[in-house]
Amino acid sequence: MMDNKADPKGILAVGEITAGTLSPISLELLGMGQKLAQARGEELSVVLIDRQAENCAQEAIAHGADRVYLITDAPADQYEGASCTAILENLCTQTIKPAVVLFGQTVTGRDLAPRLAFRLKAGLVTDCLHLDIDPDSRNLIATKPVSGGNVLATYSLQEGVPQMASLRHRAFDAPEPDAHRQGEVLPLPAGVDASAVQAKLMEKVLEETSEGPTLETAEIVVSGGRGLDDLEEFDKYITKGLAEVLGAAVGATRGAVDGGLQPEQHQIGLTGKIVGPKLYIAVGVSGAIQHMAGCSGAKNIVAINIDENAQIFRFAKFGIVGSYKEVLPTLIEKLKELELS
């Protein structure tokens, strides 16, 4: 009874686990969450819904969590929207009443955050670059790119329900882990059964892992756009050309994906992956703001484009105006020579 009347309190981050450890965005979320928790003078909790959640509890505490909720008995073996929403609904209305709920802007976060927001009738700002607490009202202030990134919009959110936001990957640096940090680990029952599952998983197909590094971790990413003539050219110049000689991961624009030059999983940008390599080479890419949303965190951008007015040159450190057909053969050859020397 008392509990139901209590003011919403604390920050709750919804963490994700990939390959047995907290995903990079979850670490960033903990850093941001701890900052917000301090600004509100409250604690940061994280909830992990995963069979292996236990293994990640200390990692979460080391990165800023004051409390870790472990839910290992969800009815679906992996992420399923409807049942995860039901679990979080219970958590947010019965177990704890968080003032702020944070997600990563990932494939899962994009699916889960809106479901929960509508369930709780709570405001949600997706894909945020900055989050802050207003010192007077103690409310969440969320800034996100709109119009593809051409404009930045800052929002406040309705009070009385959790204030929700999802954070863009690489918008905030993950904190350094502190192995001495103390925190509480609380296993919780999912509280929902198999009837909460709506989507039946028939098959899960993982992309064949190519020899090269993943987009997520690559030091160098080579991306091709619609400027490449066809699949053969993409393969010859990008995948088996520039990317191979550099040991780089292969990215693509939406233009290239729509044209069938690369599968969607390689799309970089607003609705694709966010990468932050040391070197990003864009070939036949116009530099649409929606694409740049996924790579502007690269330390160095190099662009090769036939059009000297292409917007990509506004973001690039080095540029060559010319056709990839004329530039890339020498580029690849010289890089090979460098490799051998």
Binding site: G81, A82, V107, R110, D111, P114, R115, A117, F118, G123, L124, T126, D127, P145, V146, S147, G148, G149, N150, V151, L152, A153, Y155, Q158, V161, Q198, A199, L201, M202, E203, K204, V205, L206, R254, V257, G259, G260, E264, Q265, T271, L279, A288, I289, K299, N300, A303, Q311, F313, R314, F315, K317, F318, G319, I320, G322, E326, V327, L328, T330, K334
Partner: protein, 270 residues
């Protein structure tokens, strides 16, 4: 199959960044008057997905759009959808819809869908190119209490269910959901919107389209427009894109390439 597709009109997302300006006092984004308006690209993918299902299994497609600008312009998009092969189109228009966010929009669209009655599928685009929120599809599902999925790139009709491909970070899932359900569609090489045929365009031009007001939807006034919004826009700003590109210019493309490799090497980037 009975399919409802929600489409939104947006400013062409491909206009250059330099066209954007903001009026900070009015909290408004200002764009050149002649900036082209288009159907949101992801909504075109959703429409194409619906048309492909209709090609395979027959049925009916109804397109719904909530007008956020003068109705005449949005009617043009609805007619384009009809010309492409949709059967019915409905415009939701009311000053009371203004100032809404994802909550208000999803509620109004859900009310319209309820009014339409029987359907098997509702398709939305993954996100709209103006506010980039990516919430409305899931919001419609929550309002109607229906199952939903996002990042869908392929749909197959079944008996009482649909089977779909959903993209995930490192591959894809094949999922089955009972119908009716709500799906948010992503881009895929097989979902490029078809071109309307001339006969379709001429036929669509003559159609009178129904326009539904908030009252016609029996919408709760506290849940539409500004009243229904759960977020408040505080500030708009332009990001600073401070690029200073060093163009590498050799005598030939090959020489430029060689100079670039040298430059990257001396800068210790490679």
């Amino acid at each position: 199959m009975n399919i409802i597709v929600c489409i939104k009109q947006v400013t062409d997302p491909d206009i250059p960044a330099s066209d954007y300006a903001v009026d900070t006092a009015a909290k408004r984004i200002n764009l050149p008057d002649d900036a082209p308006l288009v159907i949101n690209p992801y909504d075109e993918n959703a429409l194409e997905a619906a048309l492909q299902l209709k090609d395979q299994t027959g049925g009916k497609i109804t397109v719904v759009s909530l007008a956020t600008r003068p109705a005449k312009r949005v009617l043009r998009d609805l007619k384009q959808a009809l010309a492409m092969g949709a059967d019915e189109a409905i415009l939701l228009e009311d000053p009371a819809f203004e100032g809404g966010d994802s909550h208000s929009t999803a509620y109004a669209l859900a009310k319209a869908i309820q009014k339409l009655g029987e359907f098997d599928l509702v398709l939305c685009g993954l996100q709209a190119a103006d506010w980039d929120a990516g919430q409305v599809g899931l919001g419609i599902a929550e309002n109607l209490g229906l199952p939903s999925a996002t990042y869908v790139t392929h749909i197959e009709a079944g008996d009482g269910h649909v089977r779909m491909i959903r993209m995930i970070e490192n591959g894809h899932e094949v999922l089955e959901l009972p119908t009716p359900c709500v799906l948010s569609i992503a881009n895929d090489k097989n979902l490029a919107p078809r071109i309307a045929r001339l006969a379709g365009i001429i036929k669509a031009k003559k159609r009178e389209l129904p326009v539904w007001s908030a009252a016609a939807l029996e919408a709760d006034p506290s849940r539409i427009g500004t009243a229904g919004a759960r977020t408040t826009l505080h500030k708009l700003a332009l990001p600073d894109i401070t690029g200073s590109c060093e163009f590498i210019k050799g005598e030939s493309p090959a020489e430029s390439a060689a100079l670039l490799v040298d430059r990257l090497h001396t800068e210790k980037i490679i």
